[in-house]
Symmetry: C2
């Protein structure tokens, strides 16, 4: 018996595959004259749904997670599909809540529900997926030296909510809001497909996503600590707001790199947090010191390192 981490398992699968398009936010295949984008993302109730979420919120979140992956490729989301694993003793109210949430998400993002399947399983599992259409794809491997590094929205609330919840403390409503009901940046993704060079959605934390872009694009990314858009409530509550903002996942904000001359074309709010340079790695400027940025994703927090807020 070998204990493999999730990323190692996927790497092993990729080793075995002859014809694949894995490794970005969504896979893609040519379809008529467009790119057909496909992504799937599984939610395991026991580990992925804290009890402050309702079944409806969980159902909607599965749609959001998948639409967000399409958005991060610069695609137009078209369709959602899912498979359910359902233990025998699951109550109808929970299932109906999940159904309502999926419907709500599908309406919000304008996607058609094209496939649904259900099976008896030991725990509740909602495996969702989305399909989109793209013309110019925002690959994480396409960041160019000279690009500015930008991010939508504000960071920190989902992780703050989770850490307070793990400690059994009350979660302020404004913090809870985004943890319960995150939104995919589907309109922003489509707009960016015309102007940005690369994009990724923040599902595992800003620091991890920046490393993904830097590695895939063979570039160096330098960000400025002062520029990171930390949410105001998070700043008031936690000891190290920057660390929380760098580690907070399931934000579904978009990180993108874009040539400076294209900035004027963007119609939505965003924050410039750094730039792309020749070289490798991700660096952060703190006051006047430059530090190599560690990866602070949730996979790395599980040990409990940062549970102390």
């Amino acid at each position: 018996m070998t204990k493999m981490r999730e990323s190692e398992i996927i790497r092993m699968f990729i080793e075995e595959f002859d014809n694949h398009a894995l490794g970005d936010d969504a896979g893609f295949v040519r379809f008529n004259d467009s790119w057909l984008l496909v992504t799937s993302d599984m939610l395991v109730w026991r580990t992925d749904v804290p009890d402050f979420m309702t079944p409806e919120e969980a159902g909607k979140k599965v749609v959001t997670m998948n639409v967000s992956d399409i958005a991060a490729m610069g695609g137009l989301p078209l369709a959602f599909f899912f498979s359910l694993g359902v233990p025998e003793n699951t109550d109808e109210k929970t299932l109906r809540g999940i159904a309502k949430g999926i419907n709500k998400g599908a309406k919000e993002y304008g996607v058609k529900i094209v496939s649904g399947d259900t099976n008896e399983a030991r725990e509740i599992i909602i495996d969702g997926g989305a399909i989109g259409r793209g013309s110019r794809l925002l690959l994480r491997s396409n960041a160019k030296p000279g690009d500015l590094v930008c991010v939508t929205g504000e960071l920190g609330r989902p992780l703050t909510a989770l850490l307070l919840w793990l400690k059994g403390e009350e979660i302020p409503p404004k913090i809870l809001e985004k943890a319960k009901n995150p939104k995919a940046r589907e309109r922003e993704g489509i707009e960016l497909s015309n102007y940005a060079n690369s994009a990724i959605d923040i599902s595992d934390g800003l620091s991890k996503e920046l490393w993904e872009i830097a590695r895939s694009s063979n570039v160096r990314i330098v960000i400025d600590e002062d520029k990171i858009p930390v949410n105001e409530e998070v700043r008031e509550i936690v000891k190290d707001p920057i660390k929380i903002a760098l580690a907070s996942g399931e934000e579904f904000e978009l990180v993108f790199t874009i040539p400076k001359e294209n900035l004027g074309n963007i119609s939505f709010d965003f924050t410039i947090i750094g730039r792309v340079e020749e070289g490798e790695g991700v660096y952060i400027k703190r006051e006047d010191k430059m530090e190599r940025l560690p990866i602070l994703g949730w996979e790395h927090l599980k040990g409990g390192d940062y549970v102390n807020l």
Copy 2:
């Protein structure tokens, strides 16, 4: 707590959905000038993988199940995607076997692997899906009075293998072969899209699939007991070969209805088992008596009724 059957759960979900394309072998959405077909089908190791199957066979079967759904719509399979649920103590050999099987299936059916995701779960779950392109869809709701009812291949081996296995008896190699390595009829599906009126793949047993077509198309289907293509080895082993052939699922053969004048265009082997008439229900001619056909799918066998071979 309410105990709901899988079909009831899906019906409840459909009630809640405003914009969906559920209820056929695969969902569909317009994409440029074609139909984009999407299906997903979950395999739960504990309940769906008997121990006579290797991990590689299970991995390949997930591809087959999904490609078969695309074939049953008359679509060209383009892409495969999956999510894995993996318990912590899963050995690497099992996972690598699954990966090899998925790759084998993808090569056999010429599909690109476009998305893969993995999560920690209580049991091994492989949730797969496929995407295809269709021009003229073979809906199960489009059977027309006057059509002939046809089926590809031979029936009975998967259920016979399963029943022998449940009894702890040896399974003859020729019976085992199809249970371990079923094949999707992807070329037949594409050819039929030009000539047939409706089609469905046999995942839950011939009798259940015939009822699906009859109900969805508002027609009567009459089949002839003597015409059902029961596999020769199955005929030699079991007491009631017709019952087994009607109930045997995971055959992945195609049942289709087709106007008589189009038969000459079909280049592959198939068997005419009956015809479509005005009316409702599914009937079977046994000697000179006409009987209403009961649904004999696996969901109905679980009680153990037919374990006695």
